[in-house]
């Protein structure tokens, strides 16, 4: 529905809410790439900056919720207008969580500076991170263009991120079993990989919101979850 409302201030309200969530998305994309860069280059100053910037993202999330609550109360939106407001609120929550994960990666980067290097893991993390970053970029594109196919595509790609996470998890376990001195570093690296994996899940949930926004229905086929951790014991995993 792109035709205008009879009350033009209603159009401005809806456009304003969507602009705010896109602004927030830009900040989250930044936080994610800066956290990755800080980790990669051991840039503690940048890590510190990412941690500080999360407050701005949290504030925007609150502003978006307040604004949406006002639209619900004053305009009583229906149909696609209602779905727009609901989608914006939910996307804002997903982005806020992604911001938290970026902040947590930055925090662990500071700690990791004191621990030993684990071969091969940074490259695997970079791989995962860039997969999630491109999912986020595409899902925002799908939101702006109301593109269901692109959103479906993003949803499907989360499977690959889960696979990368599983592989990385196995390799971290191997490192820890080989040498217990690796445990501290590996635990932090595991949390970082889990953070990236969770960002993928939130991006997927944004994709579902886009589908709901356009079609009025949540995608119903449950995405196959490739999370070995919740299904098997660690020693089984390290053998596979």
């Amino acid at each position: 529905m792109s035709t205008q409302h009879i009350v033009s201030a209603f159009d401005r309200d809806l456009e304003g809410a969507q602009a705010m969530v896109l602004k927030m998305a830009g900040l989250v994309e930044n936080a994610m790439s800066q956290a990755a860069q800080a980790f990669e280059t051991n840039d503690l100053e940048l890590a510190h900056k990412v941690r500080g910037n999360d407050k701005v993202i949290d504030r925007l999330d609150e502003d978006i919720k307040t604004n949406c609550a006002r639209i619900l109360a004053t305009r009583s939106p229906n149909a696609s207008d209602l779905r727009t407001v609901l989608a914006v609120m939910s996307i804002s929550s997903n982005l806020e969580r992604c911001g938290d994960y970026a902040k947590n990666i930055a925090k662990r980067t500071t700690v990791l500076a004191e621990t030993r290097q684990i071969d091969g893991v940074p490259a695997a993390l970079r791989h995962m991170q860039s997969a999630v970053a491109s999912m986020l970029q595409d899902v925002l594109d799908a939101f702006i263009k109301r593109d269901v196919d692109l959103a479906e595509n993003v949803r499907a790609r989360d499977y690959e991120v889960d696979e990368m996470y599983n592989t990385l998890f196995r390799s971290l376990l191997t490192h820890m079993m080989e040498d217990t001195h690796n445990i501290t570093a590996c635990m932090h690296l595991h949390f970082i990989s889990k953070n990236i994996e969770r960002m993928g899940d939130h991006t997927t949930s944004i994709a579902e919101q886009v589908i709901y926004l356009v079609t009025g229905e949540m995608p119903d086929d449950d995405r196959q979850k490739s999370d070995l951790i919740s299904q098997s014991k660690p020693d089984e995993l390290s053998r596979t």
Partner: protein
Amino acid sequence: MDDLRAINNDVESNATKISAKNVQVYYGDTHAIKDVNVEIKEHTVTAFIGPSGCGKSTFLRSINRMNDTIDICRVEGDIRIDGQDIYDRNIDPVQLRARVGMVFQKPNPFPKSIYDNIAYGPKIHGLAKTKADMDEIVEKSLRRGAIWNEVKDRLHAPGTGLSGGQQQRLCIARAIATEPDVLLMDEPCSALDPIATSQVEELIDQLRESYTVVIVTHSMQQAARVSQKTAFFHLGSLVEYGTTDDIFTNPKDSRTESYISGRIG
């Protein structure tokens, strides 16, 4: 707050109470209702929505043959209540209207006392044996119409001396005094303040347990709140009919969407 179940809005399995097939209504040469087909469910609140002049009142009036009272009006097609053709020559419109009560768009109290406004219907249909019975019916109806407290001290004052909103609630009380099967309400809350509106909405929700309610309303929020099924009319046609949830969150027809979301259609 022990009951965590969502309000049961699933009425799809309810039996059909009113069935309309290929209904046309004309005022002289004006074709006001064009080939409407609809099945209205029992124990359900059905909302009729649509822009002014689209034929909501006209269609509503054809369900209790109120259109018979308009000289130039002609109704064609088939309308059945409980499977019985209401335009059959054996049907007495007066009896029909006791079963199918109506609250009109404009309040129309009789030029009699408040008490007699309510007692009139029950009296002609022999619903009260004694004065005490009648007193009870009058009080119960006025309470359900959310007006008892305002009129209990002046039951013998004329109904026409009430304010517009009070008159409307008096008419609602009058319509339910005969305990009809079906209640047709044409914008019952248009003259009411928010408190009385909530009281009438509460009443409508209660009535659904025993009756079938059809309500015409210009308030989209009211339609969304009180009804389980919604029918959208446009230029005399029934454009979309579905569950209220679907109509308000995900309408299929772009005309419905434009209308309910206040867009330039």
